[in-house]
Symmetry: C2
Subunit: 213 residues, 2 copies
């Protein structure tokens, strides 16, 4: 289990301190509301120092994404390693996804909310690391189809987005509603995966999905 989010201490390299401080500040004040001087203060660094390590404020946000995604991908692969069954793999994927959120609330806020306010992130940037993350889902589905466990008529490309969308929306709502205590992430994970898995499972015995007459 990689660190993903480390403690900000004046011992560390300034770049690391700036990244960690940014996560906190972005989470607390939002990307726009966060001032460079806020980040600098929290990182115990001068405003100008930030520009020695990052092109500009948005670059800080994108670097958070790049670097934390790297660690997250490592965690994810470690977790999935050795699991063969596609249902269990999907279960593990969702569990890991939600566990990371829970363990790193500030980072979760940044990923689920603030990152999406970056014009560049949405319009120009190619978040390769996110594609890699999502590709894991697509692979699981594809392999399940090859072994015959999953319906072959589903488009893994679309299913990937649907599953990610479901997990992502639950994540967002958890982040936004955290204080109001509405979400039970574990329950969410298992129910979502159960529904998807149930709906994707190959049932050769029924031509039409079991409807009520």
């Amino acid at each position: 289990m990689a660190s993903v989010e480390s403690q900000s201490s004046s011992k560390q390299h300034k770049r690391t301190r700036i990244i960690d401080a940014s996560i906190e500040v972005f989470a607390e004040k939002g990307f726009r509301g966060a001032r460079i001087s806020d980040i600098a203060r929290k990182a115990e660094v001068a405003d100008g120092t930030i520009y020695l390590y990052f092109r500009n404020k948005e670059d800080v946000l994108l670097c958070i994404f790049e670097e934390k995604m790297e660690e997250i991908l490592a965690v994810l692969h470690a977790r999935l390693d050795g699991i063969e069954d596609p249902f269990e793999r999907l279960q593990a994927f969702a569990a890991t996804h939600f566990q990371l959120l829970r363990d790193h609330p500030a980072l979760a806020q940044v990923f689920q909310v603030e990152l999406r306010q970056s014009h560049r992130f949405l319009r120009e940037y190619r978040p390769e690391k996110l594609w890699q993350y999502l590709q894991v889902i697509e692979e699981i589905v594809r392999e399940g189809q090859e072994t015959g466990a999953l319906r072959a008529d589903l488009d893994p490309f679309l299913v990937k987005w649907a599953i990610f969308g479901a997990l992502d929306e639950l994540s967002i709502q958890w982040v936004l509603a955290r204080k109001r205590e509405r979400f039970n992430l574990d329950r969410a994970a298992s129910q979502v995966v159960e529904v998807f898995v149930g709906g994707m499972a190959n049932r050769s015995n029924t031509s039409k999905v079991g409807r009520k007459p």
Copy 2:
């Protein structure tokens, strides 16, 4: 079928012209990139006039949301009216959702991308109209459970977010990838609903969902 998006003509009330122009400009340049003067020019109105009808730039965005959601809700209810079967209702929900996107590409961009850059929309604002929209899903699930068509062990609250998340993510990707022609929305709608419906259906004959041994 309400208008949802009307033509900007200098005959209309200025407020309407401003709303319509904003949708176009926000869609084209993004919320941040859109200047008040751009909107004013497109609406054939002076910069200052906008402030006679809206508190500020963000207020314009939120008013777009409020007013267009109102129309969308009307369309949705008209479509669902008369359909009883929960599976068909869900099918109709998804179809309507995607059809609105396709028919109003600029509005789709605003809803799927720009609106989410509004700090206020995400953090403080209570988008009642969105809750109403989502509540429709929750109701469908709940009713399906009452008639026994759907598994009773699923939490309609969570399922609502999962379904919405899946539709929403596909919508976002369609909006972002539109030019690159990757998404087939109809296929997406039917596959997603099929999977969800398959996964939520009450199958009393199988204790465990059909797994491969």
